[in-house]
Symmetry: C2
Subunit: 235 residues, 2 copies
Amino acid sequence: MKYELYYWPEIQGRGEYVRLALEEAGAAYVDVARGPRGTAAMMKMMEAQKGTPPFAPPFLKAGKLVIGQTANILLYLGSRHALAPKTEAGKLWVHQLQLTITDLVVEIHDTHHPLGPSLYYEDQKPPAKKRTAEFWSERVPKYLGYFEQLLSENGGAYVTGRKLTYVDLSLFQIVAGLRYAFPKRMTAFEADIPGLVALHDRVAARPNVKAYLASPRRIPFNEQGIFRRYKELDN
Amino acid sequence: MKYELYYWPEIQGRGEYVRLALEEAGAAYVDVARGPRGTAAMMKMMEAQKGTPPFAPPFLKAGKLVIGQTANILLYLGSRHALAPKTEAGKLWVHQLQLTITDLVVEIHDTHHPLGPSLYYEDQKPPAKKRTAEFWSERVPKYLGYFEQLLSENGGAYVTGRKLTYVDLSLFQIVAGLRYAFPKRMTAFEADIPGLVALHDRVAARPNVKAYLASPRRIPFNEQGIFRRYKELDN
């Protein structure tokens, strides 16, 4: 079976956490909306009047199943591709961590869209500056400090210990994204999170991830996604 | 086994989705932080240096397991108390819907805290007005319209059909909360969501929920929680 991933074709966005999991697993998949008429196919599935239409991308078609919500897709893939522990307690723990990353991703998006997702960034620059200042003074230390501590306490190469999970892939993306969006702020902050920086490098060096990052399948960061580089927010 | 729920003692907040599930299920639980020295016990668990400390409340202690993140707790309780379908596809579907409600809850919180959770509402009133306007013009119709359509298409009493799931309990809370926070706006909007209004009433009339709502265990809505009544945002 070949998975079908449905996500916006021009951004990493929330789809990237799923792409990273599929790539690390070496799973066969099509990134549907990046192909001909793919976006139309995606919209059609969301507008379905019957069954289980997803509220928003990303969603994954796995045989007859259509699974929406990033963390839910990872919950599903984690069990099938050894990207999560096998025990129920282990599964719940990595899912809990992924949901904490989900919360962080919303807050990252809010740095440039504090007045809501329907307005342009250009129409909310002053509040974006305030929100970004609060994000870096209060929220980044709290979130990344939490994951840094888990890494150092567990003493392993990955957040849950010796084995990589989808959470590690997502944390790689968080570090890479914050480096892209806030190069100055992140450079200054990295001294506080040596474990996460090492984790980023360890994930990037895994053969499947490395090949993916060097391929055209990895969409470059840009100012349409979650992580946006706006000079005025990075100082 | 008696569950231990850990959540802020003075608000409904995100803990309420868990409380509603425990109450509907008739499960034995202690709302730990509402008892003597309970908040200190909660903080201690979050500050644990070892193991699997939660990032934030709510979290549920179930025997030796400590489960964090609202939707993750419901995923766990859903399987154990017949508040979710038994099939894997069904479980993933209701979890997906719960994660969509989670996204909505973040956006509800952002109406009064667009500049971030660490600042007071009083310090962000003008952006809160803008965010609230966008929330009601764009986001409420999109989110509630989605659930309204699911209800009308499935033709059942509940979102997935004949049987109540934890998603129905959460949608009850969304309707109740929006009525509390935005009485004028919600009154005008309810004509568009007859199915959700009927669902709200159906859930409120279930014996266990009804008894809970009439008990002191149900904390009243107030201006410290997710749903806050600020007159200047409701017009």
